[in-house]
């Protein structure tokens, strides 16, 4: 029907499918990195769906996911610090790919939205998405070591 929903379907099938495979197989560090990437990829998909359905209210889902996704990853980084300490996950290429995809989707949806308050909201979501996921993957790669108590 329109290209936005097609793009969302492609992001969901390729991105979330790949992270699903990563979270089911492999060592623990790969699973943790894949869980982080799944939120980083679902948020752009939700933005594309909101644009595709022409419902600006659906953007709230992407906002909530951009806030809570890194929080969930930080929960794992804190509580799995012992298991991840010997072999920390370094998914640098995948992290930057997901961040670039998020930024590209935010820019595309912003161009389609045009100036106004909705544009500021989209930029806030984009900053939360990219910044939150970079912080979360950095914490997963060993930033929580000094916070370890036991």
């Amino acid at each position: 029907m329109n290209g936005w929903i097609l793009a969302a379907a492609v992001v969901l099938a390729a991105g979330l499918g790949a992270t699903l495979r990563g979270v089911v197989t492999g060592p623990l560090r790969r699973r943790a990195a894949a869980q982080n990437l799944s939120t980083a990829l679902a948020c752009p998909a939700l933005l594309l769906l909101a644009q595709g359905y022409a419902r600006p209210a659906y953007v709230d889902l992407a906002l909530v996911l951009a806030v809570l996704g890194p929080v969930g990853t930080l929960v794992f980084a804190r509580l799995l610090a012992d298991e991840l300490a010997d072999d920390p996950p370094h998914a640098r290429t995948a992290t930057f790919t997901a961040a670039a995809l998020g930024a590209a989707v935010v820019v595309a949806v912003s161009v389609a939205t045009g100036p106004g308050r909705a544009l500021v909201k989209l930029l806030v979501i984009g900053a939360l998405l990219v910044g939150g996921n970079l912080v979360a993957s950095r914490a997963l790669a060993g930033g929580m070591q000094e916070g370890r108590r036991d």
Partner: protein, 96 residues
């Protein structure tokens, strides 16, 4: 196109839920459950129920894994304190 994205979301939910059942170790299961929460929220959005998706996101992406991991940590502490109990024989990795 709308049906295609519904089919994609349904397939993702089916695969993720099957994996959540098939994985045996509770720690890895909590990682799969976090992904399942996100995928379910996408499915609810695709089915035009974003309010349900919002609450699913709030509960599923951070709260459920937190509760599971805290429970696993407490059980392990107790198993380490009493290593000859029935729970003490399970290894750190868990699973058969």
């Amino acid at each position: 196109m709308t049906e295609a994205v519904i089919v994609v979301a349904l397939l993702l939910v089916g695969a993720c839920a099957t994996a959540a059942v098939a994985v045996r170790d509770p720690v890895r299961q909590s990682l799969v459950l976090a992904v399942l929460g996100v995928v379910l929220a996408v499915l609810f959005t695709v089915l035009q129920a974003p309010d349900v998706g919002l609450s699913q996101l709030a509960v599923g992406s951070a709260l459920t894994p937190l509760l599971l991991l805290l429970t696993v940590r407490k059980v392990r502490r107790r198993a380490q304190r009493a290593p000859d109990g029935p729970a003490g024989r399970r290894g750190r990795e868990g699973g058969p």
